[in-house]
């Protein structure tokens, strides 16, 4: 998957959990959970949606690596390349 495709994956995952958030207005270097007011249940739903569309395993210890959209994309790209 290209970075643009991964970006779409994150966008879709967020849209399912937080439909009222306009993805394009988010700061991709700011903390995602704070910006979107995601609690732990919301965040797990986001992680599950990313897993469903990419098949990537995301262990709990890696959650800090998903803090911002930029970090998410870096992390997912690195995981993809290891497939």
């Amino acid at each position: 998957m290209s970075r643009e495709q991964l970006r779409q994956v994150v966008r879709d995952a967020l849209a399912a959990v937080a439909p009222e958030i306009d993805f394009d207005t988010l700061d991709s270097s700011e903390d995602l959970r704070q910006q979107c007011d995601l609690d732990s249940v919301d965040f797990y739903n986001v992680v599950l949606a990313i897993h469903a569309s990419t098949g990537l395993e995301i262990p709990e210890v890696d959650y800090p690596k998903l803090a911002t959209i930029d970090h998410c994309l870096d992390y997912l790209a690195a995981k993809e390349s290891m497939k």
Binding site: A16, P19, E20, D37, D39, S40, V47, H51, P59
Partner: protein
């Protein structure tokens, strides 16, 4: 033969707008099945049926504003109907307004009154035949359809397997804009501002009643979460990522089991007396990003294992976020839990949602000094509070209840 009526989804609800039927005349229905969708101040609510049988007659039509208690449909055994197929066709095509005077009076505009939608045929032709198997509709698309007054059965989906998307709904609504909008939108589209105002009104009414009528007492305790969290970490490591447990579900389960031990916390204050509830349905307070708050019930939390509850909690939160709840979730809660503190504050004292008699609040888990066995160590602590109705219980029992929650969380493997 049973009459399926518009349920009351809150003390202040007078009527609801029927948005869509999910069943047709001749369909078999089972208790608990979602059969219709109704728009209320609380948003779009999926209405479940309380008996099993066959849909004999559909009385209210999409777009009708139906008072609480009015008949929506008649449910029978199916034996009395000579020819289900013959009945089904006109019901699906819906050539005439309902013959019932009450329903007809409530109806604002028959769909047939809509002007032709030339630009949209065949996608939303007014008499487009309904596909044999109903395609999926995303909850968000349903919500949008309700807002725009679009009848979903007239929308052809462009998604996977013909699933109806939000874009499809908006396309279907587009030609009905301008001066024709009112006529083409019997579901009386409310603007987001209206929903917000209606939601604030519903919260204001419930909370004012609570503070006026319920003599609250408040208790608080700090709970050491280190055992619960390390137990979770261990079992989650050994699980596939789709089967993880979150600490929220431990809290809900501990509250439900404690409510079994101290039943004065679980039930309703009705007619000047406490009516304990036989089941423990925990209302989960969820604040909406668009403003407002709902507390839908997670059912039978005392009777289900953590593994059964977790996917149900995830599903509930997801559906609420998308603006769709079920009727039983709106009305069934016997006690409420609020974790508004998760995002930052240490302590939250909830306001009881009448006619319930207790609300448990959880703050943010923070590492703090903790003294055990004469030694100071850093532990993850959570502050649990109880706001309870002094008419139904006294502080001593409330204290036992909070203590029970603490004890349960110290043995997470038994939850």
């Amino acid at each position: 033969m049973g009459e399926f009526r518009m349920p009351s989804l809150g003390a202040d609800m007078e009527s609801g707008t029927l948005v869509e039927w999910r069943v047709e005349v001749g369909d078999a229905v089972t208790q608990g099945q979602v059969v219709a969708e109704v728009e209320t101040d609380k948003g779009l609510i999926e209405i479940e049926i309380f008996e099993s049988g066959i849909v004999d007659e559909i009385v209210a039509q999409a777009g009708d504003v139906v008072p609480v208690g009015a008949v929506l449909a008649r449910i029978g055994t199916g034996a009395s109907r000579p020819a289900a197929k013959v009945v089904r066709e006109p019901a699906a095509a819906r050539p005439e307004p309902s013959s019932l005077p009450g329903a007809a009076a409530e109806r604002q505009t028959a769909p047939q009154g809509a002007p032709p939608r030339a630009s949209l045929t065949p996608a939303v032709g007014p008499l487009a035949p309904r596909p044999a198997s109903r395609p999926a509709v995303s909850p968000r698309a349903r919500k949008r359809a309700a807002e725009l007054g679009v009848q979903l059965e007239r929308v052809t989906g462009s998604g996977i397997d013909g699933a109806v998307t939000t874009a499809d709904v908006e396309r279907a609504a587009a030609p009905a804009g301008g001066s024709q909008k009112g006529a083409a939108a019997p579901a009386a589209a409310k603007s987001p501002r209206d929903y917000k105002a209606a939601m604030r009104g519903a919260i204001a009414a419930a909370m004012t009643r609570s503070k006026r009528e319920i003599p609250h007492y408040y208790l608080s305790t700090q709970i050491d979460m280190s055992r619960a969290l390390s137990w979770l970490e261990t079992i989650n490591q050994a699980r596939p990522m789709t089967e993880r447990l979150l600490y929220s579900v431990l809290l809900l389960r501990a509250v439900a089991l404690a409510a079994r031990k101290v039943p004065e916390m679980n039930g309703h204050w009705l007619d000047n007396a406490f009516k304990p509830a036989a089941d423990v349905h925990v209302g989960v307070a969820i604040s909406l990003r668009s403003g407002g708050l709902v507390a839908p019930a997670l059912h039978d939390v005392d009777k289900q294992a953590l593994d059964q509850l977790m996917p149900k909690l995830l599903d509930l939160v997801k559906r609420v976020r998308a603006g769709v709840m079920r009727s039983s979730e709106v009305s069934d809660a016997t006690i409420t839990v609020t974790s508004v503190g998760e995002q930052g504050v240490d302590t939250v004292y909830g306001v009881i949602y009448p006619p319930q008699v207790a609300i448990v609040g959880f703050g943010k888990i923070r590492e703090k000094p903790w003294i055990a066995g004469g030694r100071v160590s850093a532990r993850p602590l959570i502050t649990a509070t109880l706001s309870a109705d002094h008419r139904a219980s006294d502080g001593h029992r409330g204290g036992l209840f909070l203590t029970a929650i603490d004890h349960l969380l110290q043995e997470p493997e038994r939850l």
